[in-house]
Amino acid sequence: MLTFGTGNKAVAMAVRDAKPVVVAAYPITPQTEIVEEIANFVTEGSLAARYIPVESEHSSMAACIGAAATGVRTFTATSSHGLVYMCEMMHMSAGARLPIVMANANRALGPGWNIGAEHSDSISMRDTGWLQVYVSTVQEAYDATLMAFRIAEHTDVLLPVMINLDGFLLTHITQTFETVEPGDFIPPIATPHAIDINNPGGYGTLTPGNTHFKFRHDIERGMQASIPVIVETEAEFSRRFGREYHLYEEYRCEDADVVIIAMGTLGKEMEVAVDILREEGTRAGAIRMRWFRPFITPELNGKDVVVIDRDYSFGYGGVLAGELQAKSGCQPFSVIAGLGGQEVTYDDIAEFVRIRRPGTEHWFGVDD
């Protein structure tokens, strides 16, 4: 059904269509509309879920963990300080191999206080064992949320999935989007290690030094196994519903001498910058990284690389630039831009390409 709404509303409608049994949530700007909409769906009866309003984000993830451990489908949403508050439970949920799905409205961390878009919140959860996908349109927010359930619950994976959408830039803008009838696109959940009340046991119990590493290794095995599952899920989504997604999205890259790489809404904005640069005679292209975990190294083939990070690792550098450099061997021009909702236009992005100096770092607003 063709409709229109915000990124938040699209996520909420995808959750309604994926039919989780338990939703536990705590409100936080700019995510609140997601859980408000879901609460509406539960109240009006279009989603037969138990909605648990909890006292904190640590509790919302804990409630999802408890519910998911019984083998049911669960969802929550958060942002920024809420996400880092649930950090302990982020490790717990991935470690317990529970296929929880969560939307995160990317927002800066304070102080200084700021509610604008930034990826520092989700990137600080990089090593928890959660899969992370970053979306760039309202339609993609809907589609990626539906696909997240199928990917997380796949028995080769059994890891939680976080859908990241830029605060305000996507959570609060309105676009047209199409909802679907998922049917059996998301098979019934079948968690193999779900609690069995007829065979009681202790879950997540002591693993001494001679066994603990086996469970850690299996998280990485699941992470690597998620790559073909993502590819297969995106292909099946395209077959059924017509919209095409890939591990990363390329724009005019075939003959490009220089590629711009970013995640989220900047990854869409830079397509306009590529068109501007092409008119000037610069053979530019763009690669929008969709999956940050698992990390998928794009084909760069010796091209110049400009990476825009809406995040920063203090004492190190832009995180995406650093990971791309480590995995591909490229020497990126690392641009730090868009922190705390700092406005970055397509003209600004085109300028990053014009002034690029491979292997150096450039803070937008500081170094220009």
Binding site: A96, T155, Y203, T207, F215
Partner: protein, 81 residues
């Protein structure tokens, strides 16, 4: 499927006969005991049966039963070396 999560099922004596850890042994004075069963309920090792017989193979001698007994019918006695 490879192991996803450490799950332990209940079993007797998975850590061996933990009674060997004991320094003090509980003894019941049946004259004072009123069979209330609090000692059994509080025992963290389920080492006291419904008939209030203490299983000394698994009792670690923690003394919680003696602490909780309202009739002071349980006494902790130092084990001989």
């Amino acid at each position: 499927m490879s192991a996803k999560l450490a799950i332990s099922r209940p079993g007797e004596g998975a850590a061996g006969k933990t009674g060997t850890w004991r320094t003090f042994r509980p003894e019941i004075d049946l004259e004072k005991c009123n069979k209330c069963g609090l000692c059994r309920l509080y025992c963290p090792d389920a080492a006291i049966s419904v008939d209030l017989v203490i299983d000394l193979d698994y009792c670690k001698g923690c003394g919680i039963c003696a602490e909780e007994c309202p009739k002071k019918a349980l006494t902790m006695i130092r084990e001989e070396d």
